[in-house]
Amino acid sequence: MSKASNDAKTAELLGIDDAEIATRRSLLQIGPDDEAVMSGLDAVSRARLPEWLNEIEAHFRAFPEAAAALNEAGAVEAMKTAQEGYFGGLTAGTYDEAFALSRLSQDRAGTSSAGLGPQFYLAAYSLFVRGLLHEIFVRYGHDAALLGSAIEAIVKTMFLDFSFALHAYVASGKAQEEQLKRSFIHQLTNAAEQLNQASLNILMATSAQSTSASQQAAAINEITSTINEVKQTSQQALEKAHGVIDVAERSVEASKVGGRAVEQSIEGMHQIKEQVESIAEKILALSEQTQMIGEIIATVNDIAEQSKLLALNASIEAAKAGEHGKGFAVVSMEIRNLAEQSKQATIQVRKILGEIQKATNSAVIVTEEGSKRVETGVELANSAGVNIHQLTEAIEESARMAKQIAASAKQQSIGMEQVSIAMGNINKASTENVKSIKQTEQVSRSLGALTGQINKLIEEFSK
């Protein structure tokens, strides 16, 4: 939208048309004479205008606000061009609707575009009018009537111009106000939108947080029950380890007793071996003696045989002797019987000796076997002793290990206690966390309600 059409719209809005112009002219009593005077001043005004504009500039620079505006690049030239058009246009001499539109559409004495307020406009106007009045006094000072009509025309025209400027200022203020309102509503709408979005985000975040908090609570419960189980297990491990230590100590004692018993049994075995060996030697000696008896018996047998034969020969001789040898025959018969009895006795003795020898032989074999078995027994007892010793060492080792296990179980129990306390703290913290999440949720819901109210207000305000 161009500035001209904007100002035309402004003029229309203000209701400035031919009738309004006519009303204003008649209120200020502006007539054709006045218009003639003003056009008559046009040449003088335009001739002196650059000088006056310099004065205005110099005067403006005394004020920091204006000086800052004029220090902008090209600001002085722009202001002077605008002032030249504005002040130059005042002495046009025709003050109709076109004039009004021109005044409304122009930059008021170059102050509007420089962003300076109406006070600077009036100051610039004042300096211009002072210069113009000075020129009138110089030109019409000799004729009081002429001077008066000129001043009258200038004042009337000036006030007409002011009425337009006043309108422009009012219109400008209204437009600015509208602009401000629109911008305010826009920003407010944006803020409400952002607030709504933020509250939605918070809601989503809190619901996610709430879910994870309940999951966390469940996990904490699981961990707590697991910790309790581990505590029980470590307590059991401790008890078992103590049981193992007790058993191991008793076992060590028992194995020591066993070791002593094995040593005693080895000693006993050695004694048995010695005794068995001495029995074997005695039996061997006995066997030799029975052999000697056998030899003696053989001799006795020989003697019996020879006696028998002698008796036989004697009985033969007795038979040959006939009647005289009969008594001798009886004696020889008795001798022969005795010899036979001796022989039978030797046979029996030999038989008994044979049995004795068999018995001694088997006794010797048995004692040798016994000796060997005793040796085996000694070896077995020795290996049993070694085994018991190793068993003792193994049991002592397991007792040491069980002690270590007991210590570990104790430490584990203590650690689990600490973990349990920590879990309790975490549980409390998460409960509080859940509470605060609930509060946050409530707050974000009330925020949503608030944005709804704001939106309603905006709607009403925008009407």
Binding site: E305, L309, I316
Partner: protein, 148 residues
């Protein structure tokens, strides 16, 4: 009639006491080469050398296993003395002549010649005269020297 009975192999023999000089154990019998198998060998009897005969071998009977201790029954007939090998010797028997039976007619070999009778308990009574004086049994080398 007085007899002495002895056993050799599985048979028992009897000899009249009149022929018997002594019974002695055969401790060392020296074998003689080149003689019939019934000559077991020779033994010393108080300075004399006496031939020992095995009746079982002579009669063709089974001699059986030699006993641990054997005896020589020393018999004499006339001027001839010899020993008869025995496994065991019984006591002196007193037999009535009526209890002696003549030898069996089935004896057709050497047994007929040298057995004079049989006792009731089965003892063959040897005829020592015939046995010692049968020249067919002699060993013909220096017989006069041998006989002594």
């Amino acid at each position: 009639m007085h007899l002495i009975a002895f056993s050799r192999g599985d048979h028992r023999y009897g000899i009249e006491l009149a022929y018997l000089s002594e019974i002695r154990p055969v401790t060392r019998c020296t074998p003689v080469p080149g003689v019939p198998p019934f000559y077991v060998g020779v033994i010393h009897v108080r300075g004399d050398i006496i031939a020992v005969l095995d009746i079982a071998v002579l009669f063709g009977r089974e001699p059986g296993a030699a006993a641990a201790e054997q005896f020589a029954i020393v018999v004499t007939s006339g001027d001839i003395t010899a020993g008869l090998l025995a496994d065991s010797v019984d006591d002196v028997h007193d037999l009535l002549p009526g209890r002696i039976h003549p030898p069996l007619t089935t004896f057709t070999d050497r047994r007929e010649r040298y057995i004079s009778g049989l006792s009731q308990d089965g003892v063959s009574i040897l005829d020592v005269d015939k046995l010692l004086h049968d020249e067919r049994l002699w060993v013909r080398q220096e017989p006069s020297e041998e006989r002594r």
